[in-house]
Symmetry: C2
Subunit: 238 residues, 2 copies
């Protein structure tokens, strides 16, 4: 494939398999999620937020070129912030609190679904154990993120009382950050994935990432939509 | 040991075993190193500079608390810089160039002593494979760094024509950075190493780090002071 054909292929994968298509997201964005389901989603998704800078630091530790490291470093800054209370993780915790969750309980990950933990930890392992090309390509779900954030902001504003500047701050900020990140990531991947084997690695990486995002919503659906199926120890909505 | 007793013990280790005591450094700072020996030192020490942000990114990936990550992140910023041409690695490459080394040759690590590579790579492995407490404690040789930098700046200015604002920039900058870094590292280690087992980990970590700095100078001494012992493939001074 030419670099542009590779890009078209990757975009096609997102069109078919990105987690905006998952029934749980349709429910969440469509306004039919209960307060307990929204809380369960925010609490579980917190763990994904929490591992993102870990994952990016693993990638950082595998990049030999200071110029590329400097660009990649910005992702960690975005999530951890420049000062206490700033950054994506802090914004996500504000969302959790406004939804009525106890901040310390969320951070403790005590009520987390084990399947959420496995999926997120698998992502960290993936970027550590696979070629750097695959590690970087796994971030390319950011190609599809702005649409889901826009859909989420609109859906939340239309359907839920909790939608306000604080609870939507994370998603609004990502509308700026994700396109900048993906511009670099996509250009780098197109530049560096020239052989069939390299393009296979890239496709596998995006496939892996789409799977792990989907698996997180499957776990939420199983526990908080299917009646009576919350696993022992996991968060129980009042 | 109380936290202050632990600190005294760590400082005592540096007083006995920090690499400022190594014959190669005495020669370098005392003005009797040949231009070829200074170049060999700068070329090999480049690899140490190059792995520092890698090592720090590995540690970053192992810190769960965004607040601590934010503090640790600054070390990577210091070495990689905020823009092209900035940061500790760029300053070290400027030193190498002014000493008459080809920049691309230095970056390629082609002429590196294998023993330098092993020592530096062992440092990255150490912070990945040992407890986070040990990983952080291994940075505490910064307690002793300002003295060696001052000694080096004074020695270079007194003895060598190549001493100028460009070649000394790395060391002068570290006079600001290292004390700030070690203030945090030392306080964190004293706070978190309370049990005998934890204090053993800290002492082991500092011991490991002192050894690996010393081993780098041993390798330089063996190759570039003992006559006729440059290993095959390593940099040969003209």
């Amino acid at each position: 494939m030419s670099p542009d054909e590779l890009e078209r292929h990757l975009r096609g994968m997102g069109a078919e398999r990105y987690h905006n298509l998952h029934p749980f997201h349709r429910m969440l964005h469509g306004g039919t999620a209960t307060p307990g389901q929204v809380r369960a989603w925010a609490l579980n998704r917190y763990y994904y937020q929490a591992i993102i800078p870990i994952k990016d630091a693993v990638i950082l530790s595998r990049i030999a070129d200071p110029e590329i490291r400097r660009i990649w470093r910005q992702r960690i800054v975005d999530h951890d912030g420049e000062a206490p209370g700033e950054g994506g993780i802090a914004r996500w915790l504000n969302l959790c609190e406004q939804l009525g969750l106890n901040r310390d309980y969320v951070v403790s990950t005590e009520g987390l679904l084990p399947a959420t933990r496995y999926a997120c930890d698998a992502y960290v392992n993936y970027v550590r154990d696979n070629p750097v090309l695959a590690a970087i390509a796994s971030s390319l779900t950011e190609l599809f993120a702005p649409d889901i954030h826009k859909e989420r902001i609109a859906g939340f504003l239309q359907h839920y009382d909790f939608a306000n500047d604080v609870t939507l701050a994370y998603f609004r900020k990502r509308l700026d950050e994700a396109p900048r990140d993906v511009r670099f990531g996509l250009a780098w991947v197109k530049e560096n994935a020239r052989t069939v084997e390299q393009q296979r690695q890239v496709i596998h990486a995006l496939s892996f990432k789409l799977d792990m995002l989907w698996a997180q919503l499957d776990a939420l659906h199983q526990a908080y939509v299917t009646p009576g199926m919350i696993p022992p120890g996991a968060y129980v909505p009042e």
